[in-house]
């Protein structure tokens, strides 16, 4: 019995150090774990549909002229649907990294990862990739319910979809650093859900997910904060493409994309750096697990 097992360990195998394979491994494992939470998926799907219904009934009270003034068509449902669906998507992506970090620390699996040769970077990207894929399900679902269930007037032509997909990618990249930064906070404080929730509320508020940003112009500090949010630019581009059918030919969209790229270039290294600071700190404190 022993000897049979031993034979499998006698050969010297060269390790497969591919980073892509490591990221895939994390993604694969996390997705498998997610699949076991069926109740979650069902209730989340239900919640998504209900939340769209709420915005539909809210939209019945809104004066179309007020929305028209903002330059995004006349439908408040379309306006808020995009604002909320994409904000939720972002929140999902950002929250997933820190949330699974939290449970890995709680369950002791983080130590196994941290003592293995995998790069922390691969681990974080693998976690993020899972969030992006699962989040996509809810986001596409929300848009579909809005358009086919409540007649939100959105442009689903190939050019608009292509443009908005591109914006989506850069939106995610520009916020990934933030997600990794919050994961670093989780490492040190072991809990961050309240932080990510607050961040998402800030994003929704300052990017104008539910009201036209022109309304902030009377309050200069709020207006400035709004211009500093990367989500503001992503949302502008998404609304222009999905509500008005604007494409990459539009200068406004190119400008928004450029801003997102700048944020990605600044925030991503900053996020990874701060994560490493947090990682070294818990190794100094000896708190890589907490039970």
């Amino acid at each position: 019995m022993d000897n049979q097992l031993i034979t499998y360990f006698q050969d010297n195998v060269a390790p497969d150090k591919s980073e892509v394979r490591q990221i895939w491994g994390i993604f694969w494992g996390q997705l498998k774990i997610f699949m076991t939470y069926r109740t979650w998926v069902v209730t989340d799907t239900f919640n998504t549909i209900v939340s769209i219904a709420i915005y539909y009934f809210l939209s019945l009270q809104v004066q179309p002229s007020q929305i028209a003034a903002s330059g995004y068509g006349t439908s408040y449902l379309a306006f808020s649907l995009i604002g909320i669906a994409f904000a939720n998507y972002l929140w999902f992506c950002i929250n997933r990294i820190s949330h699974s970090m939290q449970s890995e620390i709680r369950e002791g699996t983080f130590e196994t990862i941290a003592s293995s040769p995998i790069r922390m970077r691969s681990y974080l990207f693998g976690q993020a990739a899972r969030g992006f894929l699962v989040g996509l399900y809810y986001m596409v679902g929300a848009l579909a319910v809005g358009v086919y269930g409540f007649n939100a007037p959105l442009h689903f032509e190939p050019a608009a979809l292509l443009t908005s997909s591109l914006v989506l990618v850069f939106m995610v990249l520009s916020h990934l650093g933030l997600g990794i930064f919050i994961a670093g906070i989780v490492l040190v404080y072991k809990q961050a859900d309240p932080v990510t929730f607050m961040v998402s509320l800030f994003m929704e508020f300052f990017a104008g997910a539910l009201f036209p940003l022109q309304l902030l112009s009377n309050y200069p500090p709020l207006a400035i904060a709004s211009e500093l949010m990367p989500y503001t630019y992503a949302l502008d581009a998404l609304r222009k493409s999905l509500i008005q059918g604007a494409t990459l030919a539009s200068q406004d969209i190119l400008f928004d994309l450029a801003v997102l790229v700048v944020y990605a270039v600044i925030l991503l290294p900053l996020g990874l750096w701060s994560f490493n600071v947090g990682y070294d700190r818990i190794r100094t404190e000896g708190t890589t697990s907490s039970y």
Binding site: T39, V50, F57, Q61, V62, Y76, V195, L215
Partner: protein
């Protein structure tokens, strides 16, 4: 070893008197406060969260037409006040339902639920105790949210009689939601999953109880779902009280709301305790009480 001393102590006969309810309540509040205090900076997040929500609807109110509110009988037609009351009170009760299910879930995780339920404390006292601190804390946040709302332009009619009427509605709202909380805690004990149910319930109440819009905008079937929830009556009552200045004595609508709430509580409190007891016994039988 010091085992002699322990043995000596255990040899003294224990007088087991029933702890009074007030003492137990105090024990639970102190315990929850101490646990909460270890996360003290969360208070900041809770306050900021509700402030952002209130601010969001301050701006949403500016693009909304008052016609639907007026048609529904909220005579001022002030959407911001309408939404502020709706959000503040629905958050208040949702926090408590969430709080209870999360609390139970946490105790299942850490295994303390087995310790408590195997002690001399009944599950009724446990449920009540576990929700006390949440409600206390929720009340503070509620008052803060309403204060902020009034500061940035909410208009309410505050007289001794409207305050008294509002307080009655708030109290009934809390009692009704304690029942819902106990029921969902029972489900949590059974299926070992907290958040999805509480969230599902949150979204459903927001849809049908008229948190963001008057009920007149809902199709009849959703309106009927709303009529089964205490938040619907309480919100209507609270809004009519503070926006229109109505009281129990002069408003037939408020009287209806009051009767509906009392009926809900009479039916739901015993029923939900039954559900919890059933779920609890079931997991006892299956031996899955402390499982995660």
């Amino acid at each position: 070893m010091e085992s002699d001393k322990i043995i000596q102590m255990l040899q003294e006969p224990t007088v087991r008197s029933k702890t009074t309810l007030a003492e137990k309540a105090k024990a639970f509040i102190v315990r929850d406060f101490k646990i909460y205090w270890t996360y003290k900076f969360w208070v900041v997040f809770d306050v900021i969260d509700i402030a952002i929500l209130v601010a969001t609807y301050y701006f949403v109110a500016q693009i909304i037409t008052p016609a639907h509110l007026v048609a529904e009988g909220y005579s001022s037609g002030d959407y911001f006040t309408f939404a502020m009351l709706g959000i503040a009170f629905s958050q208040y009760v949702q926090n408590s339902v969430h709080g209870l299910t999360e609390g139970v879930r946490d105790e299942q995780w850490t295994g303390t639920i087995e310790t408590i339920l195997s002690s001399a404390t009944s599950y009724r006292s446990y449920l009540l105790g576990a929700s006390l601190f949440r409600f206390l804390y929720g009340t503070i946040i509620l008052v803060g949210a309403l204060g902020l709302g009034l500061l940035i332009g909410g208009k309410v009619i505050l007289t001794p009689s409207t305050l008294a009427t509002g307080a009655v509605f708030a109290l009934l709202l809390v009692s009704g939601h304690l029942a819902i909380g106990a029921m969902s805690a029972g489900i949590v004990v059974m299926i070992k999953r907290g958040d999805p149910i509480a969230w599902g319930f949150t979204w459903l109440t927001q849809l049908v109880s008229g948190v963001f819009y008057p009920l007149g905008l809902l199709p009849w079937y959703l309106k009927w779902v709303g009529f089964a929830l205490p938040l619907t009556y309480s919100l209507d009552g609270i809004r009519r009280t503070f926006m229109n200045g109505e009281t129990f004595f002069d408003s037939a609508v408020l009287q209806t709301d009051l009767v509906a709430l009392i009926a809900f509580i009479i039916i739901m409190v015993p029923l939900s305790l039954q559900v919890f007891a059933w779920a609890y016994r079931r997991s006892q039988r299956q031996g899955t009480l402390g499982q995660y």
